[in-house]
Symmetry: D3
Subunit: 339 residues, 6 copies
């Protein structure tokens, strides 16, 4: 089979650290074009791969016929770039949050359908081994129904991650649209939907800028969620966990509790009412590149290779997005928002 | 000094396990009267102490002149009993939540003031050594401002605690008024106000009966809190933590994080951004009766002996109560409630 | 339903510590008769239960109509007592090893069939939570095929267990027939057959009296086993593990290893080739009588109550017995024995 | 003293990883010649040392006068090469197993004697600090007599070790003669003879190819051993421990148990019946080259330098070989083999 | 053999907790007389053993013919009682410190010699399993010469130990002669002499009353010791280790270090320069009465039964006493004292 | 501000490992001259910094006008170099011990005063985070008064540290004046004065050469200290802790104990009588250059920049020196020395 021709649009941190290396490691892929308004960033990778570099992604899509596109731009551009790519006949992998509004999200889904291409959203948390194991255990039924939960994701902020540090687009509202909630919270709304095989019914949200200076995007976002089944829980995203970083989920169930990401060695711990304790060390081989990869690129490529629609589809991404949009609406209106 | 004559009204679990034994251990106290509609419960203690037993607390207050009263009745009776006791000229220690409504709470405060007696609320969490240590550390300023927090209190429900098991008044709404929120949540609203020296400004609440059968009081209560200073956090109370019991509080601050009650050995852990980690093992001498006592009785008695108004006053109890009442209102109205 | 009338024949250690207390705890059972040549032992329990006591079990079976019998005699009497009981129309639970020879075992099975009663053998190892969990994991298929194993059971000898100490029938060959192999080894031949769902094909055995004085029963028995599927392993039984007591089983499989009983806290540990480690703490509630019971009595009674043939049947017991008999034959002939 | 002139015959894994580096580190040695049918392997080392390279070891022995030879060929060549080297007047260090048959082994011993040269076998397990410590403790007598033991050596197979991977001679029966038994089992027969200062009397063996594909050498070998003193135990060698790698020995003795290689930190653990526990961390300085060396080369060179016959002599190697040969014979005949 | 008739003179804490129970547990002993100025204490034990009770030990020695005497009086009486007992023909076990002055000590030795009786001093530290193990290791030579050491013994003071609490003779200088130094320090001077098989040459001492009120005996004693061999070290005794209790000894040697009593689980730890670490858990069976006994009584009785002079002789006790007397002299004179 | 011109006199280990790198890392400093009798050492750094190199420090001080000087020479030269530097108008940072005699120390202080320059002594132990934390805790008063202490500093000797190995000036008495006491002991006399805010009143010392060969400087120094407040303790310095290296201080106080440097993870541990245990992990960020620096250079430079006299002044250094000089005097005279 000939290789899949891939373009990467947006060559910042997520492209540099996840998309590009993982495409490089995938034997089915040929990287053929890169776009970034800071043209040097695109050129650097273009040179390495004998590919073309563009400052303007529209130029790229016009001049190069690609099979697939990774959309790694600031959030505000996710929708226009993804739609343009789909219209150019390319499968699209878009970073999360998939769009700035639900309308944009729906337009992206429609564009993909009309052009007969796949649309996948980069919700990598589903692919992490601890979360896959947690899902497997919940599905086994031995914990019974989930009654309540808490899930949170917090770190010191994107300053250390972004290639632009404190000057990152992450802090500019017109490009980022949202802050910690869009960066981290949407991971958790997606995860909790996935783990519980349930949809969010009601959302209350406190979404504020509490500590970061010189920005008006949220650095702390705290929500209550009620699922269709009645299960209630809290979802927290924060950019001000300067110590005590956290990416954990605890689910209290009829027959016991499951703790994910609360222990440094055992990523999943199940404690049953009958006294049984199960401890799972998963994803341990951190030195193995395959393991530390996000899994997102391989999943996307595999979807194209096997002509199977991606399970983390545009529809999935949209529902996870709607949860956090509801939190913003709750903050703005002082009301609980029903989905 | 002659001993303080104390009556205990309501002789159920909290009276049997905390109030009566701690009064017995206090050298300044003489237990002179007990009341309980199940007269045998009152009689048992009356016999032991050469005291009088009553089925009706009004009878008790009429017939016995007491210096102080512990109100250990179901929640619905807290206000009428406390007011009657104050009117009878007795200092009043009332269990939490202090009342069923804010109006009741205010009436209790007024009754105490008019009769020149003290009114104290049994918020023992403030007196627990880990919380006292946490308060001391926060007040030292080395963690800087608290940015966000989570605090939770969950266990398998009052079935095991109550002397009536599953038939306890805890599950009858007319007597209990509220469930997990009144039993556990008000402890945490009081604690977070105390630790942060701050008042709650806004409350969103999801308060539901998710799993307990045959009752319409809440078994899971989840809130968002925004403090006057802007700090936001989550407060969770649950009666369905069948495993994974929890009474913990984590505070993310400008200079680091403080974890209270998250580790079996070290009740307070501070991790600073400069790399310092402080671990405190407090309240360790569990075999020492003084330590395992709630501290509430000694504090109340000491207040009377030294003629010093109690720091956990009616006003404090009322503010902590108002937080959880706001959560119920939020649940009922679908709105964020501002205090 | 009227209660099941049970007789216990042989009132030594296993009856006193397992059978009698577990029958007492089972609500479906009435203990109606006890037999022991040391009549005082039988009388003690008879008095407690308002039952009858006999020195001779034949007398018991003649005079009392019982629904079920536990055979807790020295090994040599297992077959004659069990057959007599079956002929008296009673369901039979016989301790392991079920008989002294395969012929006896077959006669027992036949007697039960002819009398329409159940015959169950007391192989309690199958019912221990760690072994049940190990079986569940093997059956899930994630370890793949078992390639090789070792299983062993060793302690300092029956001196501390038997009510007669060093004078126990365990050391008298005419009554015990075999030593460590019959006491411990047959547990492991049964366990390995159960875990692997496979039968033993070939046995080599070194069975000797190495250290116990004044006895000619074996105190150390070491075997090689080859299963029908080809899997090979070692089985060891010892009465001379004065320190380093052991009841463990390790299975090396295509996809990883499973360790059962090798760690003080985690009774089952699975290490997969992909780096995942699973640790199971099962059977932890040692203070809960239900958990520390053997489970054998409840299983036997449940079989009768539900009229379901017991899964640990006479046929199962016989096959497990034949393995250890083969080891003795191997010792005697210097040959590998095929079953 | 002039340096000892050494030739290395066979330049595969064991030569590259142990013999050549350890000769290089030994100040008494000059490497003067290398032989390997893959001449490039010999040439690489010859160039490095200003030595000569040969494809045919007979050529080497004819053209170069050497003081000593390391025989690192496939097993089938051990005897012919060693005998040729001895006849050429060189001291011989031969890898284990020393020969393919006992006859060969005896011929090697005779050749050495007739030529007045030393013959040493590369049984490095005796020189490992944990085994040396175990021997010292056993010899102290505080554990009393060894009653029974188990010793095992298992790893995922020689694929990762051999310089030829899956195409290694280890899997070709005509060159390897035996598989896991010759690679690992003979280490353990030598070790147990050494630790117990006792000889093997009887052997039963199950020696099979269970999982490796494309080979007919054994990948799992399991034996029963009875020593002259009566002590019995199991010896296991496996190439299919894909997880749960093991090189451990446990000895149950009159006064307690000794565990060697069962704990990641403490290589030797002694538990005595009087409650004393001794834990030894030996061989810990893994970064010190001297410690991580096998010790075999230094011992061999020291033997030559001091003109002292090597303690791991041809006779010792022969007895250890005869144990595993007996296991093969047992497998072939279905009989216990007496030595 | 007829039983040894023993009298206990002084029935305070050490008699009640060590001497009397250990005599009771020894099958060779008959307790025939007890003396104590608080006659009730003597009578209580006399009644229990059908023995005689005396207020005055002289009366006892006159009226009862005993084979052996334990001297458990305050320190000031050790010498007169021991001498009187020896003159009465009894073997003598005297508590430490053996006497108030060296002259007294010599007189005791002489009295024993003249009367042909044994004189043993209660230096039980030598008999503790960790110290016995430490001695064994030092004597093995693998640590080489001891270069320097520190040894210390500190606890919160004798208030909790003595049957008279704060009113104990331990705090009265005329009876106790010395405080922490006599109570604890002499244990360590004896231990270090024993472990090193060496004598003290020079002593400097700071011996003061720093914290205990209402007493003029020393509560903190700190010494420098230089041994005949040149080894130097510190010896510390304290009654003011209110936390951080300590009974430890560390010896830095040519080949490594030995730590005794520094770790809660492993009482003896050896770290050698070659990287080997040995950890010994000795004396672990704390529930076994034999183990938790001091060993002193059994040693004394065994000495009498076997007619072997006790190894912890009067001469040994005297030399250990002289070390601490030198510390007092150093404190008094401001000079280093040579022995 | 223009940069501070600094000269380093003496370019051995302490200059190479602490002074020069820390000056390089300080933005306020320009290294302008280096002196060392081994001129190559000076030249190497001079080249790197475009500075001047001298074999004779007098030449340096004459030819280069510097603002500050680090005195890193052998001990015997500390005073003459420091005085010359002060006379040349330079601020002086002198390594410890500041001088060979108290007279020299006083002359240095006088020279600094007369020339209006600062004199600081390199007592870096005060600046280590664990010691700073210990000081903070002691000053908080919660431990109450310190009653007694031990402090020690021991390692295998300066052979591994010095750039000249065994030929180091550390072993030559005319240059070093003193051995372990000057190298390590003076650190601890300074530390204990600092922690206790108290001065030493009396000193007894045993100071000897016990194990190092070919030198007559002390390799083991052991002291008793009595502080003005009465507190007594031991101070130990050793060059023969071949294993069991130690830099620890334990302080027994009225309300509990503080242990500094006794635990590998928690550098400061406080155990209070009320059961509270506090554990502090400080100075953990070993990879952060700032943290692993001594802090001495930054403190010295900051003193100059802010024109604030250094807190570790010549007077402080002198008092710490006098303590160890008293120990030498005690060793020489056999008397306790009062300061």
């Amino acid at each position: 089979m000939s290789k899949i021709k891939v373009a990467v649009i947006g060559c910042g941190a997520i492209a540099q650290r996840r998309h590009i290396p993982e495409y490089e490691a995938n034997p089915h892929v040929e990287l053929v074009a890169f776009a970034d308004p800071v043209i040097e960033r695109a050129q650097k990778y273009a040179e390495k791969h004998g590919a073309l570099a563009f400052a303007d992604y529209r130029e790229l899509l016009k001049e190069v016929k690609v099979d697939a596109v990774s959309v790694c731009t600031p959030n505000a551009l996710h929708a226009p770039v993804a739609i343009a790519a789909a219209n150019a006949g390319a499968h699209v992998l878009v970073e999360k949050p998939m769009a700035a509004t639900a309308e944009e999200g729906r337009a992206m889904i429609e564009a993909a359908q009309q052009n007969g291409v796949y649309l996948m959203v980069g919700h990598n948390q589903r692919l992490m081994p601890p979360h896959a194991k947690a899902k497997e255990i919940l599905d086994s039924g031995r914990l019974g129904k989930v009654i309540s939960f808490r899930t949170s994701f917090g770190h010191p902020g994107p300053e250390r991650w972004s290639v632009d540090g404190k000057d990152s687009w992450f802090f500019r509202k017109d490009e980022a649209i949202m802050g910690a909630m869009g960066d981290l919270g949407v991971h958790k709304s997606d995860l909790i939907r996935y783990l519980l095989s349930d949809e969010v019914a009601d959302v209350a949200g406190f979404v504020n800028t509490l500590h970061k200076e010189g920005t008006d995007v949220d650095d702390n976002a705290t929500c209550l969620l009620r699922m269709k089944s009645g299960t209630i829980g809290t979802l927290v995203a924060s950019w001000t966990y300067y110590k005590g970083e956290d990416n954990s989920t605890v689910l209290w169930c009829e027959n016991g509790v499951m703790k994910v990401g609360t222990h440094p060695d055992d990523q999943v711990i199940v404690e049953l009412r009958n006294g049984t304790v199960e401890r799972y060390k998963v994803g341990a081989i951190a030195t193995n590149e395959k393991q530390t990869s996000s899994g997102v690129i391989d999943t996307f490529v595999n979807s194209i290779v096997t002509q199977t629609p991606p399970s983390i589809s545009g529809e999935e991404g949209l529902r996870s997005l709607e949860v956090i949009l509801a939190a913003f609406e709750s903050q703005a209106t002082g009301k609980v928002i029903s989905l």
